[in-house]
């Protein structure tokens, strides 16, 4: 596809792209310099979604974010789906490709949620093999995103930041740090979110997510936060973003809003907030992982 190449995402605000914002984004993107799309929404044969994407890609760096590969699945990766991802990435030449530390498919049935994994050596070996497979098939480095957790597996023997770090070391993948997910998981499982950030290998982080969550409670009336992407980012998550940027330096920062999607000015205001957070960072990171590097 002919368009100016974007080899990497800018260290600037991006938003999750929603088709209802197309006209507004073209007219006035505010501080938004890049867009993230959910890969699976652009796997049709043609029509408006791909035409709009082609047009947007001429102007904005695009991040392709998969939500259906089931990288944590016990079964081998779905070859058909991997081929579709490769087709999309070959055509679009996006600045970044990312997926989740999660599973979603079992025996061919797709559950459309990011389901949790135990952090064991067996999971580590399996997920690492799947990441190798993805990176070889796509011919590019991928970023792996930390999940939102509502519960913990008794069998887990790794802390999540160490588990993510080890996967990156074994596979050469980069990491996507969702600070809302950190806040949600830390609240739900009762740990300190800043300790998680401190343990996370920020030099391997190629992209940061923020987003809104819902509030519920568990059987013991303990807070249970749900990663819904359906409202504004809360203050403690913005504060966690500030801390993360201060520690690790500027990064591409994405605002996610996937349910009850608001009119563009509301999302643009969230992007402006992310721009302010980025402007307040004076240091630059020691090293930034490339998102366009070919894997061996």
């Amino acid at each position: 596809m002919p368009h100016p190449p974007h080899d990497s995402l800018p260290h600037a605000p991006g938003v999750g792209y929603k088709p209802q914002h197309y006209g507004d984004i073209i007219a006035d993107p505010a501080p938004v310099e890049w867009l993230e799309i959910h890969a699976e929404n652009y796997m049709g044969d043609g029509g408006r979604p791909l035409a709009q994407l082609e047009h947007l890609a001429r102007r904005f760096a695009i991040s392709v974010h998969g939500v259906g590969l089931s990288i944590g699945g016990e079964a081998p990766l779905d070859r058909d789906h991997l081929a579709r991802l490769r087709h999309l990435c070959d055509w679009l030449q996006p600045a970044s490709f990312s997926e989740h530390l999660a599973w979603s498919t079992h025996e061919g049935a797709f559950l459309n949620d990011l389901l949790p994994l135990p952090y064991t050596n067996a999971t580590l070996a399996r997920v690492a093999a799947h990441i190798d497979d993805v990176q070889q098939t796509l011919g590019r480095q991928m970023l792996l995103e930390n999940p939102s957790s509502y519960l913990a597996f008794d069998e887990s023997t790794w802390a999540e930041p160490d588990f993510m770090h080890e996967l990156a070391l074994r596979t050469g993948c980069g990491l996507l740090l969702d600070v809302n997910n950190v806040f949600v998981s830390a609240t739900n499982l009762g740990y300190e979110p800043r300790a998680y950030i401190d343990a996370y290998p920020l030099d391997l982080v190629g992209e940061i997510h923020v987003g809104g969550h819902d509030q519920d409670h568990d059987d013991h009336d303990a807070p249970l936060l749900i990663d819904s992407h359906g409202r504004v980012v809360v203050e403690p998550v913005w504060a966690l973003l500030d801390d993360t940027l201060a520690r690790g330096g500027r990064r591409p920062v994405l605002v996610e809003w996937d349910t009850d999607v608001p009119d563009w000015p509301v999302l643009a205001a969230e992007a402006r907030r992310a721009a302010t957070a980025l402007q307040n960072v004076h240091s630059t990171p020691r090293s930034v992982p490339g998102t366009d590097r070919e894997t061996a």
């Binding site: 699976e40 929404n41 796997m43 049709g44 044969d45 043609g46 029509g47 408006r48 979604p49 791909l50 035409a51 939500v67 259906g68 590969l69 089931s70 699945g73 016990e74 779905d78 058909d80 789906h81 579709r84 599973w103 979603s104 498919t105 079992h106 025996e107 061919g108 049935a109 797709f110 559950l111 459309n112 949620d113 389901l115 949790p116 135990p118 509502y150 519960l151 913990a152 597996f153 008794d154 069998e155 739900n188 499982l189 009762g190 740990y191 519920d216 568990d218 059987d219 013991h220 303990a222 249970l224 749900i226």
Partner: protein, 255 residues
């Protein structure tokens, strides 16, 4: 206790009223309990919403509450077989045909068929199209001996119900009330938005024959066998307006 594998988790997520698996805690050593239901709820709600997005006229006809019930039942029995939710629900029309509690709304399955066909057309591959001027420039005899390659978005939905009018009225009550006439519907995609148009008698046979590779003369004969005196001009006009004829195969070369 054996740690829960994905088969166990899958069963617990997709089976109503099943207790959460063991081996899962709240981070403080207490059983996960209702924390596990977040996943069950996410799965059920997101699949229901995918169907709600794909079948708005069906939802309007039976009401949101009935739609939730039938969508939940369908999703439990027919989970998506791929992560491409844009086309989820291919089996929903047939499911509605056999769904006993709604059996009195006999046209529901056909309305769902029309909605799903519109959705497929929306995501179909782009195509070139010939315009009416091009067609007019061809001698009638030459055209009648030619066949057509139809654009991938072009589809026919046949029904014994006034399915086009029912869908239109369900989506917007300012449309005319459906009359009791069967409707076969042509779906085309002139640019990015699929257009559904009811066909005259013989129109579906004409378009389907072209889709099978028949010449215009053969397609006309097949349509006329169903509807005597079939005049192809109107249906041909719909195909041209809908950018549905990608190219022509003529005896001495393509156009």
């Amino acid at each position: 206790m054996t740690p829960p594998d994905q088969a166990t988790l899958h069963r617990a997520i997709t089976t109503p009223n099943l207790a959460p698996p063991g081996g899962l805690s709240d981070g403080h050593g207490r059983p996960a309990g209702r924390r596990f239901w977040v996943y069950r709820n996410n799965v059920a709600v997101s699949l229901r919403e995918a169907l709600r997005t794909g079948f708005p006229a069906v939802a309007s006809l039976i009401g949101e509450q009935n739609f939730s019930t039938v969508a939940r039942t369908y999703a439990q029995e027919n989970p998506p077989d791929s992560p491409l939710l844009m086309l989820y629900g291919a089996g929903f029309p047939a499911f509605l045909d056999g769904f006993e509690p709604l059996a009195h709304i006999r046209y529901l399955g056909d309305v769902a068929r029309l909605e799903h066909a519109m959705r497929r057309a929306y995501h179909a591959a782009d195509s070139a199209a010939i315009c009416s001027g091009t067609l007019r420039a061809i001698a009638l005899k030459t055209l009648m001996d030619s066949s057509a390659n139809l654009a991938p978005a072009t589809t026919i939905v046949r029904s014994v119900w006034p399915v086009h009018a029912i869908r239109a009225y369900a989506l917007d009550p300012s449309n005319p009330k459906p009359a009791a006439t069967p409707q076969n519907v042509l779906i085309t995609r002139p640019d990015f938005d699929p257009v559904a148009t009811p066909l005259p008698a013989g129109g579906a046979e004409f378009v389907e024959a072209l889709a099978r590779g028949a010449t215009f003369a053969e397609a006309h004969d097949q349509a006329a066998a169903t509807a005597s005196g079939f005049d192809p001009a109107f249906t041909l006009g719909l195909l041209l307006d809908g950018a549905a004829i990608a190219s022509l195969n003529m005896k001495n070369g393509n156009y």
